[in-house]
């Protein structure tokens, strides 16, 4: 167990190092900052009363997550690194746990970056930046299991885009079948702006989504080489 934890931590550190050097990481950060800056520029230029329900931070956050978040499983498989690492250097459980830990750490880093950038660009409105960043991070957790599915099934360098398309298609199909309101309620997207307690249903669903991702280990193992 101690060995597995040590190996998982090593895999997570290596994966974070790779994420830091991935060309998509600065692109994601830049896309987030530019979109947000443009939105605030429009906001400050608008004549009062200015619109209060500004979801631009959430949209920019989700776009940055689509560009930057990855497990790295698909690229490892394409390079033959998965079969080299698993069983030779690390156990499969340590590999999987390390990848998941690295992804969640990246999401946490993106959240912190969004809070800081949002606070600066909103001229110090940290509460607005924090609430929207938290809500966005929790919403992004909902498509983490789909991201794993995509990376397990496809050899792609841009798994976030494929996962997002799948998520939108599934959400559209569900909204047509059961209606928008039941779907919004099912996904926990029934929060009140700047009310932290109202994020609780979404937080529960985010936790369930991460638990589902962890429980998908046997499914991933069937596909993984090594």
């Amino acid at each position: 167990m101690r060995n597995t934890l040590r190996q998982a931590a090593a895999v997570a550190r290596l994966e974070l190092f790779r994420t830091g050097r991935a060309p998509t990481t600065p692109v994601a950060a830049l896309a987030f900052a530019v979109i947000l800056a443009f939105g605030y520029w429009l906001y400050w230029r608008a004549l009062p009363p200015r619109p209060e329900d500004d979801r631009l931070l959430a949209h920019a956050f989700i776009l940055a997550a689509i560009i930057g978040l990855r497990f790295g499983i698909a690229s490892d498989r394409a390079l033959g690194a998965e079969s080299f690492l698993i069983r030779n250097l690390v156990g499969p459980a340590a590999y999987f746990a390390g990848k998941l830990a690295a992804l969640l750490t990246s999401l946490l880093a993106l959240t912190a970056f969004a809070v800081v950038t949002g606070t600066i660009l909103s001229a110090g409105d940290w509460n607005h930046a924090l609430w929207y960043s938290l809500a966005s991070a929790l919403a992004v957790c909902l498509f983490v299991p789909i991201l794993l599915l995509v990376e397990s099934a496809m050899d792609t360098r841009f798994p976030g885009a494929a996962a997002f398309v799948l998520f939108v298609v599934a959400a559209l199909a569900a909204s047509i079948t059961i209606g928008i309101e039941p779907l919004t309620s099912f996904l926990g997207l029934t929060m009140e702006r700047l009310d932290y307690k109202s994020l609780l249903p979404l937080a529960w669903r985010a936790a369930v989504a991460i638990a589902i991702t962890g429980a998908s280990y046997p499914l991933w193992r069937r596909r993984a080489s090594g």
Binding site: G72, G80, A81, F84, G226
Partner: protein
């Protein structure tokens, strides 16, 4: 073929009545063999003959149609089987230094197998990206990581391919020395190093024939 029990060795690789299919073709039938620590076993044959399929089965990475492959580890050691194939690569977007730090973290220092200094990459490469190394450099880096693990079984498919002649020589000497306490099987389509010892099995795509027997048999 010698038997590990008759040599009073209690651990090794034991293959019994092995049949391997590749698609609809039978690439090996009724193969029985035992290999033990002491010498490197060489499997030679042309490209595409099916050596890789055989090695994957010997390494436990693939199942045979019938027959058994048993890895019996010495007392107190796990029967870990390390397997290398030329299609295996290193993760991209990392540097030689970061990769080596990763390897240092996964193996505690006390459980690391001593490595020939000639196989360790030049420290000047520490900041170089792994995906910008030459094929030979990347291969040495991968083998260096693999060989640090003190596993009792080492199954290597074409480990000499793309290596410079001095690196080949170093690796061959290292494997010969390590074979004293590790079961090593190497498949190659190249010539077996001139000063090597150990059994050589020739594989023609359907059967394995010994062309050199173990020295101690």
């Amino acid at each position: 073929m010698p038997d590990i029990l008759s040599r009073e060795l209690t651990w090794g690789l034991e293959v019994r009545d092995l049949v391997i299919h590749k698609g609809r073709t039978t690439i090996l039938s009724d193969f029985t063999w035992t290999h033990y620590p002491g010498e490197v076993a060489w499997i030679v044959g042309e490209n595409g003959a099916g050596k890789s399929s055989l090695l994957r089965v010997l390494a436990g990475r693939e199942r045979a149609a019938t027959g058994t492959v048993t890895h019996t580890a010495p007392a107190g050691r796990s029967p870990a089987v390390l397997y290398y194939h030329p299609a295996m690569g290193l993760p991209d977007l990392t540097t030689v230094g970061a990769w080596q730090a990763f390897v240092d973290r996964i193996y505690p220092a006390e459980s690391r197998y001593p490595l020939d200094p000639g196989l360790v990459p030049d420290s000047a490469l520490a900041h170089k990206r792994v995906d910008r190394l030459s094929t030979g450099e990347a291969k040495r880096l991968a083998l260096q990581a693999l060989l640090q693990r003190a596993a009792p079984f080492l199954i290597l498919d074409e480990p000499f391919e793309h290596l410079s002649p001095p690196a080949k020589q170093r690796l061959a000497s290292y494997l010969s020395a390590r074979a004293r306490d590790t079961v090593i099987v190497v498949a190659t389509n190249q010539e077996v190093p001139a000063d090597s010892h150990g059994p050589i099995l020739s594989y023609d795509g359907s059967s394995l024939k010994p062309i050199r027997l173990p020295e101690e048999s």
